[in-house]
């Protein structure tokens, strides 16, 4: 589903942020991308949806080589992906409904289907009663649920999540992780960036550990 080969990224700095990174995530897998602060997790995360260009190497997502693809193809790929960010990336003056509906609107989904789909996904994340509220009127946990709802509403094959529980307390983290587990159980491939080691213990999945620009893979013993 995701194949990364010999990826290098430096931001024009003599020390490489990412050095010859290669890994593969299979369809339906749930993997963590972990590492200390400044290890390059977010850089690698952004390379996975062509938000950054590498210095060299290749990223292929769902058969599309992101380095070669035109902007329109990348836009179409992103519609098949769901992305969740630590800072939520919600539009503050759009209601919860509009924020979630946006992901369907850009894909040209019929209005009738949008209403139904948004309602359903908000129900999955447990925030259907906040439909008409604006993001600043919601708590951090609620905003993250809206962001997750927006990532799920297109029924994506791939979910990329950057520290989705970074700002949240224990209980809400549990709820959010349960949502991700549920999505994964429905067949979606999930790549989650985190620095929360406790999370890895509670929800054991394959781990890509990134440190000083290099990547190592850990698989929990059965």
């Amino acid at each position: 589903m995701i194949r990364v080969s010999h990826l290098n990224k430096s931001y024009n700095h003599p020390d490489l942020i990412l050095k010859d990174i290669s890994f593969e995530v299979k369809r339906g897998e749930f993997v963590y991308l972990v590492g200390p602060s400044g290890a390059g997790k977010t850089t690698l995360f952004r390379l996975l949806f062509a938000d950054l260009k590498p210095d060299s190497g290749q990223v292929v997502v769902d058969g599309l080589d992101l380095m070669q693809a035109r902007p329109a193809r990348i836009a179409k790929l992103r519609r098949r992906m769901g992305m969740v960010f630590q800072d939520y990336k919600l539009i503050p003056n759009y209601t919860v409904f509009d924020n979630v509906a946006l992901a369907l609107e850009v894909a040209g989904t019929p209005r009738k289907l949008i209403q139904k789909a948004v309602w359903q996904v908000l129900k999955v994340v447990g925030i259907e009663r906040q439909l008409e509220r604006l993001p600043p009127q919601l708590s951090g946990g609620e905003q993250q649920r809206v962001a997750i709802a927006r990532a799920l509403v297109n029924d994506p094959q791939i979910i990329l999540a950057d520290e989705p529980t970074g700002n949240l307390d224990y209980e809400i983290t549990e709820e959010i992780m349960n949502i991700f587990k549920y999505i994964n159980s429905q067949g979606a491939t999930v790549v989650m960036v985190t620095h929360n080691r406790a999370l890895l213990q509670r929800f054991k999945r394959k781990v890509f550990y990134l440190d000083k620009g290099s990547l190592q893979t850990y698989v929990w013993p059965d």
């Binding site: 949806f49 836009a75 519609r79 946006l102 609107e105 850009v106 040209g108």
Partner: protein, 307 residues
């Protein structure tokens, strides 16, 4: 059924774009208002300039219908030569019609012109006035060079003593109108440039204010076209609104000025000849506003690409 489905599909694609456009305009009313006002002022100046020019051109054109060349004939011209000269004049493209004024007729006309002072002509031993041909020119084909060329041509004909036309005032009139016309185009180009720059700047301001929204749109898979189109619509909206406003203001101002002029000089026929634009120039001005809006959008997206 197929058509309805197609319409529904188009609606589904356009609805979010119009929604985003509406949001842009609603959430940045001050930027939009300033932009519309500046375009309105630019267009208003342009409209007033061309309104003045078109009315001046109409008045001049009315005067031009009086354009004539007087060909004074040689005293000794015989009938055969006179007939051939008249035939020559008849075949000239620039000449609409001509009349022959005999020496006696010229004297009569002169007496009418002199009125009470005509008595002194009685003392003359002979009629001093020559016969002439008065040529009325076609305003559509005549410009100042054509009149001069025609006069030279006529002067070369056998039997012609002198050719007279209002050369100096004619030259001045034509050159003035030409200057006004060319200056008008320069003025239009300058104001258009300013307007495009203003629209582009306001769209850019709007883009800057909405950079987070644009980022989110990119992340959820919006194509560059989907992101840019609401700004195109915004430019079109600003240009069209300003066009309507400028034309409305110009029309109101024109009616007021004409009414005021009629009160000041009630019997001046020129006032009645003053007219507002016909539908075609009106449409052109409306399209011009829209075009300026689109040009502003294109310039701002050029900046986006540069960013």
């Amino acid at each position: 059924m197929k058509d309805i489905k197609l319409m529904a599909k188009i609606y589904d694609h356009l609805f979010p774009l119009f929604k985003l456009t509406g949001n842009n305009i609603r959430r940045h009313p001050v930027i939009n208002l300033i932009s519309i006002l500046i375009i309105t002022i630019s267009l208003l100046l342009l409209i007033l300039y061309f309104l003045g020019y078109s009315n001046a051109a109409r008045l001049v054109s009315a005067w031009r219908t009086d354009l004539r060349i007087v060909v004074y004939l040689d005293e000794k011209i015989d009938e055969e030569r006179m007939a051939s000269l008249q035939n020559y004049c008849r075949e000239l493209d620039e000449v609409v019609r001509f009349i022959y004024i005999s020496r006696d007729q010229a004297l009569k006309n002169f007496k009418v012109t002199l009125g009470d002072d005509a008595n002194f002509l009685e003392g003359l031993p002979d009629n001093p006035l020559p016969a002439s041909l008065e040529l009325f020119l076609d305003e559509k084909v005549v410009d100042v060079e054509a009149v001069e060329r025609l006069a030279r041509q006529l002067r070369r004909q056998v039997g012609v003593d002198e050719v007279v036309y209002g050369s100096s005032w004619l030259r001045q009139l034509f050159s003035l109108l030409k200057t006004v016309k060319y200056f008008g185009f320069l003025f239009a180009a300058f104001l258009s440039g300013v307007t495009v720059f203003v629209v582009a700047s306001t769209i850019r301001l709007s883009l800057f204010a909405r950079r987070e929204t644009i980022r989110v749109l990119h992340l959820v898979g919006a194509t560059p076209g989907f992101i840019a189109l609401p700004y195109l619509f915004e430019g079109v909206f600003q240009g069209s609104a300003a066009s309507f406003l400028a034309l409305g203001l110009a029309y109101g101002g024109f009616r007021y000025f004409k009414g005021w002029l009629q009160l000041q000089v009630p019997h001046w026929p020129v006032v009645l000849q003053l007219k507002f634009f016909s539908p075609l120039p009106l449409l052109l001005f409306l399209l011009m506003g829209t075009f300026l809006g689109i040009a502003g959008f294109l310039l701002s997206t050029r900046w986006i690409r540069q960013d």
